[in-house]
């Protein structure tokens, strides 16, 4: 019977091309609006490092103003000072640990008339790469020893390696950055975690850095911080770079890798002990307020997904509902048109259940068509979003639709069509068999 009903559905759709097209369009537009926003939200709320979510922790210690919390009512600062970053890193109490900040370098490509230009860079430590499972195309990260010796080594993004060396294995070559010579130690494979969970303070949706350099070298050479800096205590006047490094200003992101719950507890104890010790030195005037947060907790804490996106999603769902109400109206109109066909089928022996099946399958077909067109609409919707936000590079990473989204769109469309078909179908099935056959 299923194939018979598919055939009847096809005939009915062909017999009412205008009505059917309107229904498909209504569902497609509603699905398109919903899926566009949903896709954006889905990507924004993803966790690119889910597999290690229970091992990675962002470190927060509260060195803030005793009279004015960093974040009302008692939120700890979201970055750490250089003093704490260095002390915690040097203590080496975690399985892996990394401190990093956003900076930039002027790249001097090879060749006579190649013009130097600025690239985003990240000053970080050797553990950064294994901690965040950063994939390498060639070579590897620098050794942990380089974190202390301030070696001039650099890791390039795949993109930059293509630009500078045409995609060749450039490990061991020398790259000039701000007139200093660096040895290329590794080239990354494509790596573009969205959101950029390891540094959500500085736009979680921007493209990742093109260059990675040792943190110690960046500090020693006085690289500027291109990310956010927040201070609550004035820096001693005239103290210069040294004063800034010694200050209570926060600007560094610190992460640790802890392999199990007891390691996490130990590290927390260590943090608390560290802060208690600092208190004796007159720092950390606030009550103990240290936190270790997983990437997921960290992104939630920082509201990486803007509330506006949820509002938009709500509106899109409402829009879908309106489209479905419209579809219900169209289905009712269609049911009226075919009342005679329906009552004839009843007279010839179709039970209510059989008629129900017939109409549900037909609605399902409309749903599949609406879903397919909805996927196309979603594609256009995402291109539209891309165009609206063309100046934001990060949007380019957002607007990808994977197969699970396509499947979801189609499933949602079918469910919508079936939902919309329920009432009209119920009406149809309750037509008395004789009612439309009397014609005298």
């Amino acid at each position: 019977m299923f194939r018979y009903y598919l055939k009847l559905g096809t005939l009915s759709i062909r017999a009412n091309p205008m009505l059917s097209a309107l229904m498909v369009a209504a569902i497609a537009v509603g699905i398109g609006a919903c899926m566009t926003i949903f896709t954006v939200r889905h990507v924004m709320s993803g966790n690119p490092i889910e597999s290690k979510n229970d091992q990675l922790y962002h470190v927060q210690v509260d060195n803030w103003n005793p009279d004015d919390p960093y974040d009302e009512p008692d939120g700890a600062p979201v970055q750490v000072t250089y003093v704490d970053a260095k002390a915690l890193f040097d203590a080496g109490r975690a399985f892996r640990q990394t401190t990093s900040f956003k900076t930039s370098r002027v790249v001097q490509p090879d060749g006579e008339d190649a013009r130097p230009y600025q690239e985003d860079a990240r000053a970080t430590t050797a553990d950064f790469f294994p901690m965040f499972e950063v994939p390498f195309l060639y070579g590897a990260a620098w050794d942990r020893s380089s974190d202390e010796t301030q070696d001039h080594v650099v890791v390039l993004s795949r993109e930059l390696n293509e630009k500078l060396y045409g995609g060749e294995d450039s490990v061991g070559r020398t790259l000039m950055l701000n007139d200093a010579a660096y040895r290329v130690s590794g080239v990354l494979d494509t790596w573009n975690p969205v959101p950029k969970y390891y540094d959500v303070n500085n736009n979680p949706f921007e493209a990742p850095a093109q260059l990675f350099l040792p943190f110690s070298l960046a500090i020693a050479s006085g690289f500027d911080n291109n990310g956010n800096t927040s201070c609550w205590k004035p820096i001693e006047e005239g103290s210069g770079r040294e004063g800034f490094l010694a200050s209570e200003c926060i600007w560094i992101q610190m992460w640790v890798e802890l392999q199990n719950a007891s390691a996490k507890q130990d590290y927390m104890d260590f943090l608390n002990a560290y802060v208690e010790e600092q208190k004796l030195l007159g720092r950390f005037p606030r009550p103990l307020n240290n936190h270790l947060r997983t990437p997921e907790e960290w992104m939630k804490y920082n509201e990486v997904v803007d509330e506006d996106v949820d509002v938009l999603l709500g509106l899109a769902i409402l829009f879908l509902v309106v489209c479905l109400l419209n579809t219900i109206g169209l289905l009712l109109a269609k049911a009226m048109r075919r009342a005679k066909d329906t009552s004839l089928r009843r007279a010839l022996g179709a039970s209510r259940a059989e008629l129900f099946k017939q109409h549900v399958i037909e609605a399902g077909m409309i749903g599949v068509a609406g879903g397919a067109l909805g996927v196309v609409m979603t594609w256009f919707g995402l291109r539209g979003i891309e165009n609206i936000f063309i100046e934001y590079e990060f949007i380019q990473h957002l607007v990808r639709m994977d197969w699970s989204m396509v499947a979801l769109a189609v499933v949602l469309a079918i469910a919508s069509a079936l939902g919309a078909a329920l009432y009209p179908t119920w009406r149809t099935c309750n037509i008395t068999p004789a009612s439309h056959l009397r014609l005298q």
Partner: protein
């Protein structure tokens, strides 16, 4: 096979109640060919619709093959309609989007026959009404008489024991009407019970028994025709 006792049917709208049938009693035996005549609005179609389980009755009892119809649920009624009863309507009621073959196929689909069995029955019944060469035509491509033959083929394909025809010749000229009647007589001779509503007395005369309906009741005073035999009392 059909036994109606004191059946009444009331149509209610907001303002009026119409007693389409009142105290309607009738028995029809297996193999009979019964014609039903009567003035317009007397309740002939209503009677046929109730006999064919297309409508519920308001009061009284109706037994078909000894089974009380009011006790059947929707699925069982649909099954009875599908297997035991064939309908022929005045206005043919073919499905315009389906060709002749597929129109005749409709009741067989609900019957659950396999494809080979359906094909055999469809072809056989379409051949029987003399339209073997027109199976792929759409209803609109046939004359009225031919369309009514398709409707008869559709009614016969399931080999029902009971054929209900509501003015089957009403839309046909007399020559075509005659040939449809010939067909019905042939079917009846093969054992199918037939009840046919008509207002053409000439045609009614060809049935073996005539019933006259007036004001929703079987009337004893059948004008110009042999007396309607009242069965159940």
């Amino acid at each position: 096979m059909l036994n109606m006792k004191n059946v009444s049917k009331i149509y209610r709208t907001d303002t009026v109640e119409t007693h389409a049938l009142r105290e309607f009693s009738l028995t029809v035996e297996e193999g009979e060919f019964v014609s039903v005549t009567g003035p317009s609005g007397s309740g002939k179609t209503t009677f046929l619709n109730i006999a064919g389980l297309l409508e519920d009755l308001s009061d009284g009892t109706y037994e078909l093959d000894g089974r009380d119809i009011s006790k059947l649920n929707d699925k069982e009624r649909s099954r009875v309609r599908n297997e035991k009863i064939g309908f022929i309507f005045q206005s043919f009621n073919l499905i315009p989007e389906l060709n002749i073959f597929d129109n005749v196929d409709v009741p067989l689909r609900y019957r659950g026959f396999n494809a080979a069995e359906r094909k055999r029955r469809i072809e056989q019944s379409i051949e029987m009404v003399g339209l073997g060469s027109r199976m792929q035509h759409l209803p609109a491509q046939l004359s009225g008489g031919q369309q009514q033959r398709v409707a008869i083929a559709r009614a016969l394909a399931g080999e029902p024991r009971f054929l209900l025809a509501d003015e089957p010749t009403g839309n046909l000229d007399s020559q075509m009407a005659d040939s449809v009647l010939d067909l019905l007589a042939e079917i009846n001779a093969a054992g199918t019970t037939i009840i046919m509503v008509t207002h053409e007395l000439g045609l009614a005369d060809r049935a073996r028994r005539n019933i006259f309906v007036r004001d929703g009741q079987v009337s004893d005073n059948a004008p110009e025709l042999h007396l309607a035999s009242m069965a159940a009392g």
